[in-house]
Symmetry: C3
Subunit: 158 residues, 3 copies
């Protein structure tokens, strides 16, 4: 039976996202079974980059404009500087042949990492399932997470 790894991806900041995917892909390529639970700002990583995010009510619409998300729109947790810091970091990563978030998503899926989107946050933010990329395997709540985590050898909150 393969060893399990679970990651709660709460943060939607590019630097934390890179750390989470590195661990996920590393573990999957070592034969471990990996699940990533995207919740709160972490849902931004798995939102579609194209089109607009639909939601009902003026406040939800405002929230979903401010918090548009999508793998191309993730800020840095430090030195974001209205995008300049992020642009620099992205360039340094390209120079160092470090993969982009999109490439990390693709590699994670190839390696068999499961993507689960948190239904609780989706409800509060008024999002619908078609706001998300097709790489998402399933939608679930905290019970889904805990069922996996209690069998996990490594469980992290990022």
């Amino acid at each position: 039976m393969p060893e399990k790894v679970t990651l709660v991806v709460f943060s939607g900041e590019m630097d934390k996202v890179l750390a989470a995917f590195n661990i996920a892909i590393g573990a999957a390529s070592m034969g471990m079974e990996v699940s990533m639970f995207f919740t709160f700002w972490g849902l931004n990583i798995i939102k579609k980059n194209e089109g607009s995010i639909k939601s009902r009510g003026i406040m939800r619409k405002m929230l979903n404009i401010m918090n548009r998300g999508g793998s191309h729109r993730l800020p840095l947790s430090r030195f974001h500087m209205f995008g300049l810091g992020k642009w620099m970091m992205s360039k340094l990563m390209r120079d160092a042949k470090f993969p982009t978030v999109d490439e990390l998503i693709a590699t994670a899926k190839e390696a068999g990492v499961k993507f689960i989107a948190c239904t609780n946050t989706i409800g509060v933010m008024g999002l619908s399932k078609d706001a998300f990329i097709p790489e998402v395997d399933s939608f679930g709540g905290v019970a889904t997470y805990l069922a996996e985590a209690k069998e996990g050898r490594v469980n992290l909150f990022v």
Copy 2:
């Protein structure tokens, strides 16, 4: 013997707090034994909302004014916008019938979640035990935490 879950609640931001309580309550309602260790800014969650925070020395007094805390005063980690973002998020949560922090605290206690407040931080911040809500089960340091965490199936740092 019930499976254990431990959460170090370091952060005092409302969004992270919601995630921590969701996991804690979910786990307790699945029959797991849950301990939440409130440390640093996380202590703000379990401070009384009423009255003033007493402490000795001008700098501690300043810190405890800036960092007043209490479940009604937790900022958001993103889009706080001097309270506007938080007000919006609170309204969206009410619309979605999502519980408030106070309701989460009450539900967690009913479900048997243990609240432990970190004595180290309390010392540095010059707080006294009566700054905290009566739902706190005990006060302890890192040894208390580790004694539980090393038996934990799921240990998270939030």
Copy 3:
């Protein structure tokens, strides 16, 4: 066989660093085997305080000026206020006889805590190994981390 504890230290903020070291030192002094994996902003903790950080290319040089790091230069995650909040917190810690980051590093090493610096981030940021303090035991990637974490009783991401 001693129980293992692993900490991914992603954050370079003084408050989170204190929490991480407290757990590490606590665990080591209880006879547990502790490894700290410093990655991303967490690398700042284990950079030398003296001298300048050498790197190639104008953007890396800029990044390494902004993100100079070193145990004496860690900001607070809240109330940093251009250094005022940090200065206050440092003073409160001294008053409460709480150790400084440098003392925590020394105590952790005496207690046998292993320091591992993340080679992936070092590559992206264009750092060389001599930017780091001699207390670093080794340099490694995600496979090194996972090999330890999967045997860990307590694995945290800070």
